[in-house]
Amino acid sequence: MNRWLKAYIALAAVFLLLPMALVVVVSLSSAQFVIFPPPGFSLKWFARVLQDTSFMRPLWNSIQLGLLSTIMAAMLAVPAAIVLVRRRPPGAEAIQTFLLSPLALPSLVLAIALLFFLSSIGLGNTYIGLLIGHVVIVLPYLLRTVLAVYSASDPRIEEAAYTLGANPWRAFWRVTLPAIRPGLFAGGMFAFLISFDEVAVALMLSNASNMTLPVSILGYLVNNYDPAVAAISVIKMAIVVVVLIAVEKFYGLGSLTLPQRGGTASHG
Protein backbone atom coordinates (compact mmCIF):
# COMPACT_ATOMS: atom_id res chain seq x y z
CA MET A 1 0.00 0.00 0.00
CA ASN A 2 1.35 3.42 -0.78
CA ARG A 3 1.34 6.41 1.54
CA TRP A 4 -1.82 8.00 0.21
CA LEU A 5 -3.78 4.81 0.52
CA LYS A 6 -2.56 4.35 4.09
CA ALA A 7 -3.60 7.88 5.01
CA TYR A 8 -6.98 7.28 3.40
CA ILE A 9 -7.49 4.04 5.34
CA ALA A 10 -6.65 5.85 8.58
CA LEU A 11 -9.29 8.50 7.82
CA ALA A 12 -11.81 5.85 6.83
CA ALA A 13 -11.11 3.97 10.06
CA VAL A 14 -11.98 7.07 12.08
CA PHE A 15 -15.18 7.49 10.07
CA LEU A 16 -16.14 3.84 10.47
CA LEU A 17 -15.36 3.56 14.17
CA LEU A 18 -16.61 6.94 15.38
CA PRO A 19 -20.24 6.02 16.17
CA MET A 20 -19.14 2.71 17.63
CA ALA A 21 -16.60 4.43 19.91
CA LEU A 22 -19.27 6.89 21.07
CA VAL A 23 -21.62 4.05 21.95
CA VAL A 24 -18.86 2.41 24.01
CA VAL A 25 -18.14 5.67 25.86
CA VAL A 26 -21.84 6.29 26.54
CA SER A 27 -22.32 2.73 27.82
CA LEU A 28 -19.74 3.49 30.51
CA SER A 29 -21.48 6.70 31.57
CA SER A 30 -22.55 7.25 35.13
CA ALA A 31 -25.36 9.62 34.11
CA GLN A 32 -29.05 8.78 33.90
CA PHE A 33 -29.35 10.32 30.47
CA VAL A 34 -27.26 10.03 27.37
CA ILE A 35 -25.12 13.14 27.69
CA PHE A 36 -21.87 13.57 25.86
CA PRO A 37 -19.24 13.72 27.18
CA PRO A 38 -20.40 11.72 30.22
CA PRO A 39 -19.98 13.39 33.62
CA GLY A 40 -18.36 10.25 35.06
CA PHE A 41 -17.80 6.59 34.38
CA SER A 42 -19.33 3.46 35.85
CA LEU A 43 -20.16 -0.10 34.95
CA LYS A 44 -23.67 0.11 36.40
CA TRP A 45 -25.43 -0.02 33.03
CA PHE A 46 -23.72 -3.26 32.16
CA ALA A 47 -24.68 -4.70 35.53
CA ARG A 48 -28.26 -3.56 34.98
CA VAL A 49 -28.52 -4.97 31.46
CA LEU A 50 -26.89 -8.30 32.29
CA GLN A 51 -29.51 -8.87 34.98
CA ASP A 52 -32.41 -7.79 32.82
CA THR A 53 -34.18 -10.74 31.23
CA SER A 54 -36.01 -8.38 28.89
CA PHE A 55 -32.65 -7.83 27.18
CA MET A 56 -30.79 -11.07 27.74
CA ARG A 57 -33.50 -13.43 26.51
CA PRO A 58 -34.08 -11.49 23.28
CA LEU A 59 -30.30 -11.40 22.80
CA TRP A 60 -30.21 -15.18 22.94
CA ASN A 61 -33.30 -15.41 20.69
CA SER A 62 -31.63 -13.17 18.13
CA ILE A 63 -28.47 -15.26 18.04
CA GLN A 64 -30.57 -18.39 17.57
CA LEU A 65 -32.75 -16.85 14.88
CA GLY A 66 -29.75 -15.38 13.08
CA LEU A 67 -27.97 -18.72 12.98
CA LEU A 68 -31.04 -20.73 12.02
CA SER A 69 -32.15 -18.39 9.26
CA THR A 70 -28.61 -18.23 7.89
CA ILE A 71 -28.35 -22.04 7.83
CA MET A 72 -31.79 -22.42 6.25
CA ALA A 73 -31.01 -19.80 3.63
CA ALA A 74 -27.70 -21.52 2.90
CA MET A 75 -29.47 -24.84 2.39
CA LEU A 76 -31.72 -23.19 -0.18
CA ALA A 77 -29.08 -21.01 -1.80
CA VAL A 78 -26.25 -23.52 -2.30
CA PRO A 79 -28.07 -26.10 -4.47
CA ALA A 80 -29.70 -23.31 -6.45
CA ALA A 81 -26.36 -21.61 -7.01
CA ILE A 82 -24.76 -24.88 -8.10
CA VAL A 83 -27.20 -25.53 -10.92
CA LEU A 84 -27.48 -21.87 -11.90
CA VAL A 85 -23.73 -21.62 -12.38
CA ARG A 86 -22.81 -25.07 -13.72
CA ARG A 87 -25.82 -25.99 -15.82
CA ARG A 88 -27.15 -22.64 -16.92
CA PRO A 89 -30.70 -23.97 -17.33
CA PRO A 90 -32.95 -22.00 -19.69
CA GLY A 91 -34.05 -18.80 -18.00
CA ALA A 92 -31.16 -18.90 -15.54
CA GLU A 93 -30.91 -15.14 -15.47
CA ALA A 94 -34.61 -14.70 -14.85
CA ILE A 95 -34.50 -17.25 -12.04
CA GLN A 96 -31.54 -15.46 -10.48
CA THR A 97 -33.29 -12.13 -10.62
CA PHE A 98 -36.38 -13.70 -9.10
CA LEU A 99 -34.38 -15.25 -6.25
CA LEU A 100 -32.81 -11.87 -5.51
CA SER A 101 -36.06 -9.87 -5.78
CA PRO A 102 -36.92 -9.76 -2.04
CA LEU A 103 -34.14 -7.16 -1.85
CA ALA A 104 -36.31 -4.75 -3.80
CA LEU A 105 -39.40 -4.69 -1.56
CA PRO A 106 -39.19 -2.32 1.42
CA SER A 107 -39.11 -4.36 4.61
CA LEU A 108 -42.09 -2.47 6.11
CA VAL A 109 -44.32 -3.54 3.24
CA LEU A 110 -42.99 -7.10 3.27
CA ALA A 111 -43.52 -7.28 7.03
CA ILE A 112 -47.21 -6.40 7.07
CA ALA A 113 -47.97 -8.52 3.99
CA LEU A 114 -46.17 -11.48 5.58
CA LEU A 115 -48.10 -10.98 8.83
CA PHE A 116 -51.45 -11.27 7.07
CA PHE A 117 -50.30 -13.98 4.68
CA LEU A 118 -48.77 -16.20 7.37
CA SER A 119 -51.73 -15.63 9.68
CA SER A 120 -54.09 -16.80 6.95
CA ILE A 121 -52.26 -20.13 6.78
CA GLY A 122 -52.01 -20.46 10.55
CA LEU A 123 -48.38 -19.41 10.94
CA GLY A 124 -48.90 -15.87 12.23
CA ASN A 125 -46.74 -15.01 15.23
CA THR A 126 -45.19 -18.46 15.42
CA TYR A 127 -41.52 -19.35 15.44
CA ILE A 128 -41.73 -20.88 11.96
CA GLY A 129 -43.38 -17.75 10.64
CA LEU A 130 -40.64 -15.54 12.03
CA LEU A 131 -37.96 -17.87 10.70
CA ILE A 132 -39.57 -17.90 7.24
CA GLY A 133 -39.67 -14.11 7.24
CA HIS A 134 -35.97 -13.90 8.02
CA VAL A 135 -35.01 -16.57 5.50
CA VAL A 136 -36.83 -14.59 2.78
CA ILE A 137 -34.91 -11.48 3.80
CA VAL A 138 -31.42 -12.99 4.06
CA LEU A 139 -31.60 -15.44 1.15
CA PRO A 140 -30.61 -12.88 -1.52
CA TYR A 141 -27.39 -11.94 0.29
CA LEU A 142 -26.28 -15.54 0.60
CA LEU A 143 -27.28 -16.50 -2.90
CA ARG A 144 -25.50 -13.54 -4.42
CA THR A 145 -22.19 -14.11 -2.69
CA VAL A 146 -22.23 -17.86 -3.31
CA LEU A 147 -23.06 -17.29 -6.98
CA ALA A 148 -20.23 -14.80 -7.28
CA VAL A 149 -17.60 -17.04 -5.76
CA TYR A 150 -18.76 -20.27 -7.35
CA SER A 151 -18.94 -18.90 -10.86
CA ALA A 152 -15.32 -17.81 -10.48
CA SER A 153 -14.11 -21.29 -9.53
CA ASP A 154 -12.83 -23.64 -12.19
CA PRO A 155 -15.38 -26.31 -13.23
CA ARG A 156 -12.57 -28.58 -14.37
CA ILE A 157 -11.60 -29.42 -10.77
CA GLU A 158 -14.97 -31.02 -10.18
CA GLU A 159 -14.82 -32.82 -13.49
CA ALA A 160 -11.40 -34.13 -12.52
CA ALA A 161 -12.76 -35.40 -9.23
CA TYR A 162 -15.51 -37.32 -11.02
CA THR A 163 -13.14 -38.66 -13.61
CA LEU A 164 -10.93 -39.95 -10.83
CA GLY A 165 -13.93 -41.82 -9.48
CA ALA A 166 -15.10 -39.70 -6.56
CA ASN A 167 -18.77 -40.24 -5.76
CA PRO A 168 -20.92 -37.11 -6.02
CA TRP A 169 -21.32 -36.64 -2.28
CA ARG A 170 -17.58 -36.87 -1.78
CA ALA A 171 -16.95 -34.57 -4.70
CA PHE A 172 -19.35 -32.08 -3.15
CA TRP A 173 -17.65 -32.14 0.24
CA ARG A 174 -14.11 -32.23 -1.05
CA VAL A 175 -14.29 -30.05 -4.12
CA THR A 176 -17.46 -28.00 -4.49
CA LEU A 177 -17.86 -26.97 -0.86
CA PRO A 178 -14.26 -25.77 -0.45
CA ALA A 179 -14.71 -23.82 -3.66
CA ILE A 180 -17.80 -21.98 -2.41
CA ARG A 181 -16.80 -21.78 1.24
CA PRO A 182 -15.48 -18.18 1.07
CA GLY A 183 -18.77 -17.10 -0.50
CA LEU A 184 -20.71 -19.01 2.12
CA PHE A 185 -18.72 -17.30 4.86
CA ALA A 186 -19.08 -13.79 3.48
CA GLY A 187 -22.76 -14.30 2.59
CA GLY A 188 -23.39 -16.06 5.87
CA MET A 189 -21.85 -13.14 7.72
CA PHE A 190 -24.05 -10.64 5.87
CA ALA A 191 -27.07 -12.87 6.42
CA PHE A 192 -26.42 -13.31 10.12
CA LEU A 193 -25.72 -9.63 10.74
CA ILE A 194 -28.80 -8.58 8.79
CA SER A 195 -31.06 -10.99 10.64
CA PHE A 196 -29.42 -9.92 13.89
CA ASP A 197 -30.40 -6.28 13.30
CA GLU A 198 -33.66 -6.76 11.39
CA VAL A 199 -36.58 -4.99 12.99
CA ALA A 200 -39.55 -4.46 10.64
CA VAL A 201 -40.41 -8.12 10.09
CA ALA A 202 -39.59 -9.13 13.66
CA LEU A 203 -41.89 -6.38 14.99
CA MET A 204 -44.81 -7.93 13.12
CA LEU A 205 -44.03 -11.65 13.33
CA SER A 206 -42.38 -12.27 16.70
CA ASN A 207 -44.15 -13.38 19.86
CA ALA A 208 -43.35 -13.21 23.56
CA SER A 209 -41.17 -16.31 23.57
CA ASN A 210 -39.10 -15.46 20.48
CA MET A 211 -38.89 -11.68 20.65
CA THR A 212 -35.63 -10.46 19.14
CA LEU A 213 -33.09 -8.01 20.50
CA PRO A 214 -33.76 -5.20 17.98
CA VAL A 215 -37.47 -5.38 18.84
CA SER A 216 -36.77 -5.10 22.55
CA ILE A 217 -34.26 -2.30 22.00
CA LEU A 218 -36.80 -0.42 19.90
CA GLY A 219 -39.51 -0.95 22.50
CA TYR A 220 -37.18 0.30 25.19
CA LEU A 221 -36.17 3.34 23.17
CA VAL A 222 -39.73 4.52 22.62
CA ASN A 223 -40.04 5.53 26.23
CA ASN A 224 -36.57 5.45 27.73
CA TYR A 225 -33.25 6.84 26.76
CA ASP A 226 -30.53 5.92 29.16
CA PRO A 227 -27.11 4.32 28.68
CA ALA A 228 -28.65 0.85 29.10
CA VAL A 229 -29.33 0.76 25.36
CA ALA A 230 -25.70 1.61 24.69
CA ALA A 231 -24.60 -1.11 27.11
CA ILE A 232 -26.67 -3.82 25.42
CA SER A 233 -25.35 -2.63 22.05
CA VAL A 234 -21.79 -3.01 23.31
CA ILE A 235 -22.53 -6.52 24.57
CA LYS A 236 -24.02 -7.40 21.19
CA MET A 237 -20.99 -5.90 19.43
CA ALA A 238 -18.66 -7.86 21.69
CA ILE A 239 -20.36 -11.12 20.77
CA VAL A 240 -19.99 -10.45 17.05
CA VAL A 241 -16.38 -9.34 17.52
CA VAL A 242 -15.59 -12.58 19.32
CA VAL A 243 -17.17 -14.53 16.47
CA LEU A 244 -15.15 -12.57 13.93
CA ILE A 245 -11.93 -13.13 15.86
CA ALA A 246 -12.71 -16.84 15.98
CA VAL A 247 -13.28 -16.85 12.22
CA GLU A 248 -10.00 -15.01 11.75
CA LYS A 249 -8.22 -17.49 13.98
CA PHE A 250 -9.53 -20.66 12.38
CA TYR A 251 -10.08 -19.55 8.88
CA GLY A 252 -8.63 -16.11 8.30
CA LEU A 253 -11.01 -13.27 7.57
CA GLY A 254 -8.83 -12.50 4.60
CA SER A 255 -10.19 -15.43 2.68
CA LEU A 256 -13.74 -14.16 3.02
CA THR A 257 -13.28 -12.25 -0.18
CA LEU A 258 -12.21 -14.31 -3.09
CA PRO A 259 -11.77 -14.12 -6.83
CA GLN A 260 -14.92 -13.41 -8.71
CA ARG A 261 -14.50 -13.37 -12.44
CA GLY A 262 -17.51 -15.10 -13.87
CA GLY A 263 -20.13 -13.23 -15.80
CA THR A 264 -23.20 -14.62 -14.04
CA ALA A 265 -21.96 -13.39 -10.73
CA SER A 266 -23.41 -9.95 -10.88
CA HIS A 267 -26.67 -10.60 -12.62
CA GLY A 268 -28.54 -9.76 -9.45
Partner: protein, 278 residues
Amino acid sequence: MMPNRFRLSTLAFLAPAVIGLLVFFIGPLLLNVEVSLREQGGGHGLAQYLRALGDAYYVKVWLQTIVLAACVTFFTLLFGYPFAFAIARSRGPVKGFLIFLIVTPLLINVVVRTFGWMVVLGRSGLINGTLRAFDLPTINMLGGWFAIGITLVHVMLPFMVLSIASALEGIDQALEQAALTLGAKPAAAFRYIIWPLSLDGVITGTLLVFSLSIGSFVTVMLMGNNRTMVLPVMVYQQLNLSSDWPFAAALGMVLLVTVLVISGIQLAIGRRLRRGQA
Protein backbone atom coordinates in the same frame (compact mmCIF):
# COMPACT_ATOMS: atom_id res chain seq x y z
CA MET B 1 -29.12 -31.43 -24.84
CA MET B 2 -29.36 -33.99 -22.07
CA PRO B 3 -32.17 -36.44 -21.40
CA ASN B 4 -34.78 -36.06 -18.72
CA ARG B 5 -32.47 -36.82 -15.88
CA PHE B 6 -30.61 -33.59 -16.37
CA ARG B 7 -33.75 -31.49 -16.22
CA LEU B 8 -35.12 -33.37 -13.25
CA SER B 9 -32.04 -32.88 -11.12
CA THR B 10 -31.82 -29.24 -12.15
CA LEU B 11 -35.38 -28.82 -11.00
CA ALA B 12 -34.72 -30.65 -7.75
CA PHE B 13 -31.82 -28.35 -6.92
CA LEU B 14 -33.68 -25.19 -7.79
CA ALA B 15 -37.05 -26.21 -6.40
CA PRO B 16 -36.55 -25.58 -2.67
CA ALA B 17 -35.40 -21.99 -3.18
CA VAL B 18 -37.83 -21.19 -6.00
CA ILE B 19 -40.86 -22.78 -4.36
CA GLY B 20 -39.93 -21.30 -1.00
CA LEU B 21 -39.86 -17.82 -2.46
CA LEU B 22 -42.93 -18.43 -4.63
CA VAL B 23 -44.93 -19.25 -1.54
CA PHE B 24 -43.44 -16.94 1.05
CA PHE B 25 -42.44 -13.96 -1.07
CA ILE B 26 -44.77 -13.97 -4.07
CA GLY B 27 -47.67 -15.02 -1.82
CA PRO B 28 -47.40 -11.97 0.44
CA LEU B 29 -46.56 -9.86 -2.59
CA LEU B 30 -49.80 -10.84 -4.34
CA LEU B 31 -51.67 -10.10 -1.14
CA ASN B 32 -49.99 -6.71 -1.14
CA VAL B 33 -51.06 -6.10 -4.74
CA GLU B 34 -54.63 -7.01 -3.87
CA VAL B 35 -54.60 -4.64 -0.89
CA SER B 36 -53.15 -1.84 -3.01
CA LEU B 37 -56.09 -2.19 -5.40
CA ARG B 38 -58.70 -1.81 -2.66
CA GLU B 39 -60.83 1.28 -2.92
CA GLN B 40 -62.73 3.11 -0.26
CA GLY B 41 -66.17 1.97 -1.33
CA GLY B 42 -65.10 -1.67 -1.09
CA GLY B 43 -64.40 -2.38 -4.76
CA HIS B 44 -61.08 -2.72 -6.50
CA GLY B 45 -59.36 -0.24 -8.79
CA LEU B 46 -56.35 1.91 -9.38
CA ALA B 47 -57.39 4.74 -7.06
CA GLN B 48 -54.39 4.36 -4.71
CA TYR B 49 -51.95 4.42 -7.61
CA LEU B 50 -53.62 7.43 -9.17
CA ARG B 51 -53.43 9.16 -5.81
CA ALA B 52 -49.72 8.40 -5.57
CA LEU B 53 -48.74 9.21 -9.13
CA GLY B 54 -51.27 11.92 -9.96
CA ASP B 55 -50.09 14.32 -7.28
CA ALA B 56 -47.05 16.50 -7.94
CA TYR B 57 -46.02 16.24 -4.29
CA TYR B 58 -45.87 12.45 -4.28
CA VAL B 59 -44.02 12.43 -7.58
CA LYS B 60 -41.51 14.83 -6.07
CA VAL B 61 -41.07 12.56 -3.05
CA TRP B 62 -40.65 9.58 -5.35
CA LEU B 63 -37.90 11.41 -7.28
CA GLN B 64 -36.24 12.49 -4.04
CA THR B 65 -36.20 8.88 -2.92
CA ILE B 66 -34.46 7.80 -6.13
CA VAL B 67 -31.97 10.67 -6.03
CA LEU B 68 -31.10 9.98 -2.39
CA ALA B 69 -30.44 6.30 -3.11
CA ALA B 70 -28.44 7.17 -6.23
CA CYS B 71 -26.29 9.70 -4.37
CA VAL B 72 -25.68 7.32 -1.48
CA THR B 73 -24.70 4.63 -3.98
CA PHE B 74 -22.36 7.01 -5.80
CA PHE B 75 -20.55 8.21 -2.68
CA THR B 76 -20.35 4.71 -1.24
CA LEU B 77 -18.67 3.64 -4.46
CA LEU B 78 -16.36 6.65 -4.42
CA PHE B 79 -15.26 6.19 -0.82
CA GLY B 80 -15.46 2.42 -0.83
CA TYR B 81 -13.34 1.69 -3.88
CA PRO B 82 -9.93 2.67 -2.40
CA PHE B 83 -10.79 0.74 0.75
CA ALA B 84 -11.65 -2.33 -1.29
CA PHE B 85 -8.40 -1.88 -3.18
CA ALA B 86 -6.48 -1.81 0.11
CA ILE B 87 -8.19 -5.03 1.24
CA ALA B 88 -7.39 -6.75 -2.03
CA ARG B 89 -3.75 -5.71 -1.88
CA SER B 90 -3.04 -6.61 1.73
CA ARG B 91 -2.35 -9.99 3.29
CA GLY B 92 -2.50 -11.77 6.61
CA PRO B 93 -3.58 -10.02 9.81
CA VAL B 94 -3.69 -6.59 8.16
CA LYS B 95 -6.29 -7.88 5.76
CA GLY B 96 -8.27 -9.48 8.58
CA PHE B 97 -8.19 -6.19 10.45
CA LEU B 98 -9.37 -4.20 7.43
CA ILE B 99 -12.27 -6.58 6.86
CA PHE B 100 -13.19 -6.35 10.51
CA LEU B 101 -13.03 -2.55 10.26
CA ILE B 102 -15.35 -2.44 7.28
CA VAL B 103 -18.08 -4.57 8.86
CA THR B 104 -18.15 -2.62 12.14
CA PRO B 105 -21.03 -0.34 11.04
CA LEU B 106 -23.21 -3.45 10.80
CA LEU B 107 -22.53 -4.36 14.42
CA ILE B 108 -24.60 -1.60 16.00
CA ASN B 109 -28.36 -1.39 16.05
CA VAL B 110 -29.63 1.09 13.46
CA VAL B 111 -31.29 3.39 16.00
CA VAL B 112 -28.31 3.42 18.33
CA ARG B 113 -25.95 4.01 15.41
CA THR B 114 -28.06 6.95 14.25
CA PHE B 115 -28.00 8.46 17.73
CA GLY B 116 -24.24 8.06 17.63
CA TRP B 117 -24.11 10.18 14.49
CA MET B 118 -26.35 12.77 16.14
CA VAL B 119 -23.75 13.13 18.87
CA VAL B 120 -21.08 13.61 16.21
CA LEU B 121 -22.98 16.09 14.06
CA GLY B 122 -25.14 17.89 16.64
CA ARG B 123 -24.92 21.57 17.49
CA SER B 124 -23.01 20.75 20.67
CA GLY B 125 -21.57 17.56 19.25
CA LEU B 126 -18.04 16.42 18.54
CA ILE B 127 -17.43 18.37 15.33
CA ASN B 128 -19.02 21.62 16.45
CA GLY B 129 -17.41 21.28 19.88
CA THR B 130 -14.03 21.08 18.18
CA LEU B 131 -14.84 24.02 15.91
CA ARG B 132 -15.90 26.07 18.92
CA ALA B 133 -12.71 25.20 20.78
CA PHE B 134 -10.77 26.84 17.94
CA ASP B 135 -13.15 29.79 17.83
CA LEU B 136 -14.43 28.80 14.42
CA PRO B 137 -18.06 29.25 13.38
CA THR B 138 -20.22 26.19 14.03
CA ILE B 139 -22.37 24.51 11.40
CA ASN B 140 -25.78 22.99 11.94
CA MET B 141 -25.50 19.67 10.15
CA LEU B 142 -28.47 17.83 11.64
CA GLY B 143 -31.89 17.62 10.09
CA GLY B 144 -31.07 17.48 6.41
CA TRP B 145 -29.82 15.51 3.44
CA PHE B 146 -26.20 15.83 4.53
CA ALA B 147 -26.79 14.10 7.86
CA ILE B 148 -28.94 11.41 6.23
CA GLY B 149 -26.35 10.86 3.53
CA ILE B 150 -23.40 10.51 5.85
CA THR B 151 -25.26 8.07 8.10
CA LEU B 152 -26.39 5.95 5.16
CA VAL B 153 -22.99 5.92 3.43
CA HIS B 154 -21.46 4.76 6.72
CA VAL B 155 -23.67 1.69 6.98
CA MET B 156 -23.67 0.91 3.23
CA LEU B 157 -19.88 0.83 2.93
CA PRO B 158 -19.49 -2.82 4.00
CA PHE B 159 -21.76 -4.04 1.19
CA MET B 160 -19.94 -2.03 -1.46
CA VAL B 161 -16.41 -2.66 -0.22
CA LEU B 162 -16.70 -6.42 0.22
CA SER B 163 -18.32 -6.82 -3.20
CA ILE B 164 -15.57 -4.85 -4.93
CA ALA B 165 -12.77 -6.41 -2.89
CA SER B 166 -13.73 -9.91 -3.95
CA ALA B 167 -13.68 -8.81 -7.60
CA LEU B 168 -10.32 -7.06 -7.24
CA GLU B 169 -8.76 -10.11 -5.66
CA GLY B 170 -9.36 -11.99 -8.85
CA ILE B 171 -7.24 -9.61 -10.89
CA ASP B 172 -3.89 -11.00 -11.71
CA GLN B 173 -1.45 -8.54 -10.19
CA ALA B 174 1.10 -9.55 -12.77
CA LEU B 175 -1.09 -7.88 -15.38
CA GLU B 176 -0.97 -4.58 -13.54
CA GLN B 177 2.75 -4.93 -12.91
CA ALA B 178 3.35 -5.66 -16.55
CA ALA B 179 1.44 -2.57 -17.60
CA LEU B 180 3.41 -0.41 -15.17
CA THR B 181 6.71 -1.92 -16.22
CA LEU B 182 5.88 -1.27 -19.83
CA GLY B 183 5.59 2.38 -18.95
CA ALA B 184 1.86 2.82 -18.36
CA LYS B 185 1.02 5.60 -15.90
CA PRO B 186 -0.77 4.35 -12.77
CA ALA B 187 -3.90 6.21 -13.90
CA ALA B 188 -3.81 4.39 -17.20
CA ALA B 189 -3.22 1.05 -15.48
CA PHE B 190 -6.28 1.75 -13.40
CA ARG B 191 -8.38 2.93 -16.33
CA TYR B 192 -7.54 0.04 -18.67
CA ILE B 193 -6.80 -2.87 -16.36
CA ILE B 194 -8.06 -2.57 -12.79
CA TRP B 195 -11.36 -0.76 -13.31
CA PRO B 196 -12.65 -2.98 -16.13
CA LEU B 197 -11.82 -6.15 -14.27
CA SER B 198 -13.47 -4.92 -11.07
CA LEU B 199 -16.72 -4.05 -12.86
CA ASP B 200 -18.49 -7.18 -11.67
CA GLY B 201 -17.91 -6.25 -8.06
CA VAL B 202 -18.92 -2.66 -8.68
CA ILE B 203 -22.20 -3.75 -10.24
CA THR B 204 -22.92 -6.13 -7.36
CA GLY B 205 -22.10 -3.45 -4.80
CA THR B 206 -24.18 -0.74 -6.45
CA LEU B 207 -27.16 -3.09 -6.78
CA LEU B 208 -27.07 -4.06 -3.10
CA VAL B 209 -26.46 -0.52 -1.87
CA PHE B 210 -29.08 1.04 -4.11
CA SER B 211 -31.86 -1.33 -3.09
CA LEU B 212 -30.92 -1.16 0.58
CA SER B 213 -30.73 2.62 0.75
CA ILE B 214 -33.89 3.24 -1.26
CA GLY B 215 -35.82 1.28 1.38
CA SER B 216 -34.30 2.78 4.52
CA PHE B 217 -36.65 4.73 6.75
CA VAL B 218 -35.35 4.73 10.33
CA THR B 219 -32.30 6.80 9.45
CA VAL B 220 -34.25 9.23 7.29
CA MET B 221 -36.93 9.64 9.93
CA LEU B 222 -34.45 10.35 12.72
CA MET B 223 -31.94 12.44 10.79
CA GLY B 224 -34.26 14.27 8.41
CA ASN B 225 -37.08 16.76 8.51
CA ASN B 226 -40.19 17.44 6.46
CA ARG B 227 -38.14 18.51 3.48
CA THR B 228 -36.29 15.22 3.37
CA MET B 229 -39.40 13.12 2.80
CA VAL B 230 -38.92 9.78 1.06
CA LEU B 231 -41.35 7.00 0.12
CA PRO B 232 -40.47 4.51 2.90
CA VAL B 233 -41.15 7.20 5.52
CA MET B 234 -44.54 7.81 3.88
CA VAL B 235 -45.22 4.07 4.00
CA TYR B 236 -44.44 4.19 7.71
CA GLN B 237 -46.82 7.13 8.24
CA GLN B 238 -49.61 5.46 6.31
CA LEU B 239 -49.26 2.23 8.29
CA ASN B 240 -48.78 3.67 11.75
CA LEU B 241 -50.63 6.98 11.79
CA SER B 242 -53.27 6.92 9.09
CA SER B 243 -53.85 3.15 9.37
CA ASP B 244 -54.20 3.26 5.58
CA TRP B 245 -52.82 -0.07 4.45
CA PRO B 246 -54.04 0.15 0.83
CA PHE B 247 -52.16 3.39 0.19
CA ALA B 248 -49.06 2.07 1.97
CA ALA B 249 -49.28 -1.08 -0.17
CA ALA B 250 -49.50 0.98 -3.35
CA LEU B 251 -46.49 3.10 -2.34
CA GLY B 252 -44.62 -0.13 -1.60
CA MET B 253 -45.39 -1.46 -5.08
CA VAL B 254 -44.19 1.79 -6.63
CA LEU B 255 -40.90 1.33 -4.77
CA LEU B 256 -40.60 -2.32 -5.78
CA VAL B 257 -41.12 -1.56 -9.46
CA THR B 258 -38.72 1.38 -9.25
CA VAL B 259 -35.97 -0.76 -7.76
CA LEU B 260 -36.52 -3.56 -10.28
CA VAL B 261 -36.44 -1.16 -13.25
CA ILE B 262 -33.37 0.70 -12.04
CA SER B 263 -31.58 -2.57 -11.22
CA GLY B 264 -32.36 -3.73 -14.74
CA ILE B 265 -30.85 -0.56 -16.17
CA GLN B 266 -27.79 -0.97 -13.96
CA LEU B 267 -27.33 -4.53 -15.19
CA ALA B 268 -27.74 -3.54 -18.81
CA ILE B 269 -25.14 -0.80 -18.44
CA GLY B 270 -22.83 -3.26 -16.73
CA ARG B 271 -23.25 -5.76 -19.54
CA ARG B 272 -22.51 -3.11 -22.17
CA LEU B 273 -19.43 -1.88 -20.35
CA ARG B 274 -18.16 -5.42 -20.06
CA ARG B 275 -18.80 -6.14 -23.68
CA GLY B 276 -17.05 -2.91 -24.58
CA GLN B 277 -13.87 -4.22 -23.03
CA ALA B 278 -13.96 -7.74 -24.25
